[in-house]
Symmetry: D2
């Protein structure tokens, strides 16, 4: 696989966007490997993801951003640039359940996730052995009603010192404060064990069992200050029946949670997700 550059872009739709973006790359001798566009005709917003081969590209990589920003500014465009050999630095937050954590670390170990897991942060000691087996530092910040803001402050300092780019809540059972969330806009991914917006809040499998639904779901989304209301990245469902107890829902749901969270993390790492308002464009 060659080293590539990826641009994620959004702006008001206008004539010539595809031409101008591709022209920027072509005139510098770049070969586009993937290009995807979307226009939301309701709002007139343009979205694009373009990935090109850096081999023989006529611009040093540190100059690509500054150069592109001139074009972007002229189009009123927001954009993000990423090189395929940069590794996103991830911190995973956990509580007591380990299935998502074990799954993410296994995917990381076999090379599925192009990222570095630089810290695992728990509000309990329980999952320390899982982290240590993989040789990843485990940090405990117990949360009580009284100390949440203070503990979050310490977590933020740690994340800062580790230059963390992405936080993954792998069945982390604490609600982050608005102050925390606002420091990582669209860079905290949560897995909620329901088909949102159904069964938001606590104990969704108990809710699903009580309602008698015939399918249960899992939803991965960016965390925003309003719980379970952030932009959805990925969802999936599995069939259940009257024979399934709440425990069975938990078991079937774990399989969903792992896959749905892992897909969302991967899509984010490959810069395939563009959040806008409360929704996402996913170029998969």
């Amino acid at each position: 696989m060659p080293t590539t550059a990826t641009l994620l872009m959004t702006c008001q739709d206008q004539k010539g966007l595809v031409q101008k973006i591709s022209d920027f790359i072509y005139r510098r001798n770049g070969n586009i490997l993937h290009a995807d566009q979307h226009i939301d005709f309701g709002t007139g917003q343009f979205f694009s993801r373009v990935e090109w081969d850096l081999e023989a590209f006529g611009l040093a990589r540190e100059k690509i951003g500054p150069e592109f920003s001139r074009l972007a500014d002229s189009l009123g465009m927001q954009w993000e640039l990423r090189f395929s050999d940069e590794r996103t630095r991830i911190a995973i937050f956990v509580s007591r359940l380990d299935h998502c954590l074990v799954d993410l670390l296994h995917r990381h170990a076999i090379g599925e996730l192009h990222a570095d897991v630089v810290a695992i942060i728990g509000n309990h000691q329980l999952l320390r052995p899982v982290a240590e087996q993989r040789g990843i530092p485990y940090h405990v910040f117990p949360i009580t009603a009284g100390n949440k803001r203070a503990q979050e402050e310490k977590e933020l300092q740690l994340l800062d010192s580790l230059k963390v780019d992405l936080i993954v809540l792998a069945r982390y059972m604490q609600i982050l404060t608005q102050a925390f969330v606002s420091r990582y806009p669209n860079r905290i991914i949560n897995i909620h064990h329901s088909f949102l917006p159904a069964f938001a809040g606590a104990r969704p499998y108990v809710q699903a069992h009580a309602r008698g639904v015939k399918l249960i779901g899992a939803t991965s989304h960016y965390v925003t200050p309003v719980v379970d209301e952030g932009p959805i990245i990925e969802q999936d469902v599995v069939r259940i029946s009257h024979r399934d107890t709440v425990d069975d829902l938990g078991r079937k749901g774990r399989d969903l949670e792992r896959v749905v969270l892992a897909r969302a993390v991967r899509l984010h790492l490959e810069r395939r997700v563009l959040p806008y308002g409360n929704k996402t464009v996913v170029f998969d």
Copy 2:
């Protein structure tokens, strides 16, 4: 296919239920073709569906119910008996959208539904030609804010005179009054075009599009006095993306609605559904 009798039963769980039911059939020389049981361990409720061959059964069919009722009474059991050569009499309610109606009538025509469609009732004239193509009487009862109770009264008289057993709301856009619903407990099946409890109420595809979900659903349920809250019989989902407009959701959703409603109607006709509280046991 032989003519069969089917018993749907529910009572408090107690020792010997399967034995007593099967003994009732075996001692009268019946051969059980299908038998399914379920116990809800939370509530201690027992549910069963048993179907047996009437050939050589040692009891005339009109005597089976009275005889079984003695056993059932001793067990505190609620039950329903149905013979496979009896045809359920269905009335289908429609408004302007024809896809569920066309689908149900086609299934009926090719022999998928062991039932008679004895009336199609619309609140508009629009779908009369669909009914007439199939040779089924079409009745129009326009509904306004002021006349609903009066029109429903006429509908009930018609349903009564036609000995209707089951009402299917095939994208019927009016909300039935509590008085109407209470006349057909667990005998009105609705299709709601969302994955309930998500997006209950009006315009679920618009709601789904606004929320940015990655799957849309359809739910078939028995109608109870509280809108969209009745026992769910069947649900299914289909994947959507940011590229899908509300119209696309409608198109993809139509395919779901047809199949989910048809499955629910079929399950009901074959007496595979046992509602209890706000849930269902589905012996499929």
Copy 3:
């Protein structure tokens, strides 16, 4: 919806393709609404679909093709141009089963398919009433072992005289000769009632039942001279169990067949399918 032009293109990958295509449109004042690209890195083949608004486009529509052909020739590109207000002319072939036919005609009636169904061709009289209800001419060409080539010749003359663009085999049970197929390359869509390549050939539901699979499928593909081996456009599956008889598989399968065929036809009509070799690129 504005009137649009769509270009489907494929050629050997080379630098500047996206730039040159978008430049062709931009310099003539066209606004790109959708653009999708794909490169098969195994073969180095480039594929693209671009759709733009014709409003204010600086080239009369009859001149777009000739003008674009100059660019295309210089790139060694194969291409197809289609205007959104042109309606594809479809002939549907049927035998005895009507579910796919009824479904396609219903979709056509409610505006899902932007096409004209100009003929229904059967090898039996059986489905004539379905055609006549919709007011579509029905032609019967009974096929025997001895007359197939002669009958096909008549069919081809009819299709020719009707300027048919697309043939849909809606559970047509005859195998077309190589001579017939070669006249409509990648313009004959078939529905096969299995998850190809499993259960190719005759009676796939009987085969699936005998093998004891837990899911059955349906496959829509372009017809090539080798039966059931053409490029696959769309597939889907549904779960079955040991309780399902071959008849149950038929019933569940019908729901699949209808949806899978309809999706494939729609994808083709919107020029979202690019066949290459024995595969397809589907820009959905």
Copy 4:
């Protein structure tokens, strides 16, 4: 959860089977918790799974089998009896890929699998660390063209000495000899990474990519002497597109393989699978 006994039974269908089985349990004061029946009308074969509470059951557990065998013999019935507090002894066979192994061991660790994993057997050293992390003995038997029978003999001695009840091939890349397979009839579960019978044999993802299918699958089945032809326990599929490389198929497929294999193992452990001929009855 109470301790339970489970009977898996099959015989030629005849009148009174359900009555006689339930009577056997009821007269000894047993309370049936689950009962499921199936009749294959094609072959006239009867299948049943009955599970009852041992609390207050009027027969010591070692006497249940001998007592039931008298009834079973009179009915020409094959049967298997299992108590819920008995733990199946599993050996897992692996080669180089660890995703199914890691998954099974994690499920075991969190209590999903009511079994003991008593050995992990590899034909390479590679996965020894995975076994050792979980504290499970790892045995290596390298296989060459020349030594297979001899190595299998040693494996069989080991399995014998460990009283292994069930062998799980967790992406084990060697084909077992007929001699080995015949020692564990319907007690070796394999995961094949295709939707069988499609893409049997080697490199199914390469085959699937070459054919251009739109879904890929995984199949879990009992191993029989004919490769990839044993009775299927569970299957599932996931959607792919033209964008997916063979590596992407591998990645998506791994998620399928893990879940499909784990479901099959669980169904077997709970004695929910009745193989017959080349098929299975699965009471889930």
